[in-house]
Assembly symmetry: C2
Homo-oligomer: 417 residues x 2
């Protein structure tokens, strides 16, 4: 595709290489530049039980103290700390046991000098008591308590607001809610949470040759594999995939698909410069085709732009190119809009190549590899249409544009799918 | 809690420390030992669109070739390779263009010597043709093609079965399905996938003091925070949480909850050795209490055992202890049953402590930390009841049992929530 352009070209055919390609850096920078214009997704309310994994819209401030009453941190006896002064395993001090305080079932009376109340972890500290003597430092004599250790006032007592105080910011704005965050929200009485609505991502699959996902191939028609893959990627990245029927390679139908409401549009197929590649011209006509053609392999026929309030990504129809273009560009935008970390969600590790990885200066390569212990085996592929190369692969290695590749034995960073 | 046991004890009160504690290693080994007896979860069928993130029950073998017909890998012209021999940019060879082959719309005729068919990437190779000359190596003269380069037979042609052959194992048994795996399954005509059913995890929250999740605290009653946290953790780890109403600290009600159908039971609260800690005795009576009390902080009042065909985890009611005990033990079992990696799903990195972390030899510590650039700041906490310590924390550091902790400046491994 880097051969010289033909001197004469039939305009109808429109089959030619890209006039020039953007670098991966330029394309990424374009996304990061325009994203702020798209980042005002509306807020929606979800039940606490659906809040994990969502991104909170605004700081959540507690209207309550947690705990809202002094409570015991130990199983033992609530008492006045000064009544235990001098108590040791060899010098027991006797106190009168008045009753029991259990979680949710406090002791109703008052603890005076020389008195104690049996208390469980989490139970309210009775009035008059100021400390808890752990059960391990006690013995019993009939119905009386023998203190065998001493505790100062306040010891083993959880004070009001010790965990969370009224006015504390429990969750910062834009926090991705983890399981324990949901627990903390529950403890301050949040039954519902205001979260950023998931970005709605319209997945438009084009191709006259395509049957719906999971269909048996029939004649020269094959099942769409990009639709279910993209839907899973969008969900992983915090977006809500909106799927529609496969769109034939006809301008009027592609135009209608592009116009549907969404925050982001992903178009698979028809993204290059061939006879049936209508999408770039349509996007340029209807909105803005900002980037078309990227110096990378696979995925060079990738485009991106804007259409009204929608970010649009034109992804190659070849499944490996589609995955790679999604990973480099569309996924970044979706994660950013969703309020997640823009960077790849893949774990990284370092490992050593068993064979050389060849690239060409001026182009970024996305090389699929298998991980075998501490070694990386490049997955042999003959083209971007070989989706099984990504199912056999455990991850990928990026060869930057200024590199001709790596000799065998090089330690490189691998991103694990 | 490591104080000597009291010499006299009122049996009714049952308030004492653990007689002895298991190590984390022993508890983990117990889980790994019993898991094989629990790993026969049934298989269920899901639609392809729901298959990402699920674990396939058995190897999936292709019944079709992908592609099922020879196809072009380039935009260009399908022809007989030998007709291009000798063609260069300075020595054009002329061929007759018969028509066009598009994806899903093949050229119906036959390509003979001196003939060519315009072809798009992915389109079926017409009968008679054996190679594709890329458009960049062609020019047009009226309706004729001028070949300006040469290609051997087979060049730029994707052969039948090149991606996937009939009989190929496309997905191995027990594979966690990634987005591209779902794409590959679609391409071989799988509209449905047999996956391992998610482990059903009954989350039993006990405590007379507890109100349902998200309730406003009222008097001495507080909202349950462990239920929503555990539900989110179980979902994260591939399980299906089964939630029921909060169970009062009464043996007959706890007994009924333990008896409900599930693959795994998590009981929060009542797991220690205090007056209201009924759960361990009930599990021992109804089934097997294999481990009770673990040498770790927090979470020492953790138990585990079996009841019929259910694995049962007794988690402390204190929220931090509950999270930690889940992470160390219950999560491991759930992930394993679900067919996922047993190890923690947290990313790891190395960073340097800004302050010392103190521990006690003989006990594993789970220390919450904040990550600030390349530095780790321990989160100050006064007890296991401070759930906000985990919402403030970015992750945790494990201090092994044989360590007294780390001085400031030590580089340690941190697990990121």
């Amino acid at each position: 595709m880097t051969s010289p352009k033909p001197r004469h070209i039939n305009a109808d055919v429109r089959m030619r290489g890209f006039a020039d390609r953007s670098t991966v850096e330029v394309a990424t920078a374009w996304i990061d530049d325009v994203l702020p214009n798209f980042s005002a997704l509306p807020v929606e309310q979800v039940a606490l039980s659906d809040a994990a994994g969502r991104v909170v819209a605004q700081e959540i401030v507690s209207r309550v103290n947690v705990p809202s009453f002094p409570r015991s941190m130990m199983d033992g006896f609530a008492l006045r700390g000064e009544d235990t002064y001098g108590a040791t395993p060899y010098n027991h001090l006797q106190l009168k046991i008045l009753g029991t305080s259990l979680p949710g079932e406090p002791f109703a009376g008052h603890v005076g000098p020389g008195e104690a109340v049996r208390i469980m972890t989490g139970a309210p500290l009775p009035a008059g008591a100021d400390a808890v003597l752990p059960v391990e430092e006690t013995e019993l004599a009939e119905t009386n308590l023998l203190a065998a250790g001493q505790v100062p006032p306040g010891k083993h007592v959880g004070q009001i607001g010790e965990d969370i105080r009224i006015g504390d910011a429990v969750i910062r704005a834009a926090r991705w809610l983890r399981p324990q965050d949901v627990g903390a929200l529950s403890s301050i009485g949040c039954a519902h949470v205001q979260v950023i609505r998931r970005p709605r991502v319209h997945v438009v699959i084009t191709g006259n040759e395509l049957l719906s996902a999971g269909s048996m191939a029939s004649g020269f028609h094959i099942a769409d594999s990009n639709g279910p893959m993209l839907a899973a990627l969008v969900s992983r990245d915090g977006g809500e995939p909106l799927m529609s029927a496969i769109v034939p390679d006809r301008p009027e139908q592609i135009r209608a698909a592009l116009a549907q409401p969404a925050d982001i549009v992903l178009v698979s197929g028809g993204s290059s410069v061939g006879q049936e590649d209508h999408v770039p011209a349509l996007l340029a006509e209807m909105g803005e085709l900002a980037i078309h053609g990227i110096a990378m392999r696979p995925s060079s026929p990738t485009g991106m732009g804007r259409l009204g309030d929608r970010l649009v990504f034109l992804l190659p129809g070849n499944p490996v190119s589609c995955l790679c273009a999604y990973d480099f560009f569309a996924g970044r935008a979706i994660r950013a809009l969703a309020g997640l970390d823009k960077d790849w969600p893949y774990r990284r590790r370092r490992a050593r190549l068993t064979r050389k990885l060849v690239s060409t200066v001026g182009r970024v390569d996305y090389a699929r590899v298998q991980v075998m212990g501490d070694e990386l085996e490049p997955v042999s592929v003959s083209g971007a249409s070989i989706l099984s190369s990504t199912t056999r692969a455990d991850g990928f290695v990026i060869i930057p544009a200024d590199s001709e590749g790596y000799p065998p034995g090089t330690e490189v960073e691998v991103y694990l799918y």
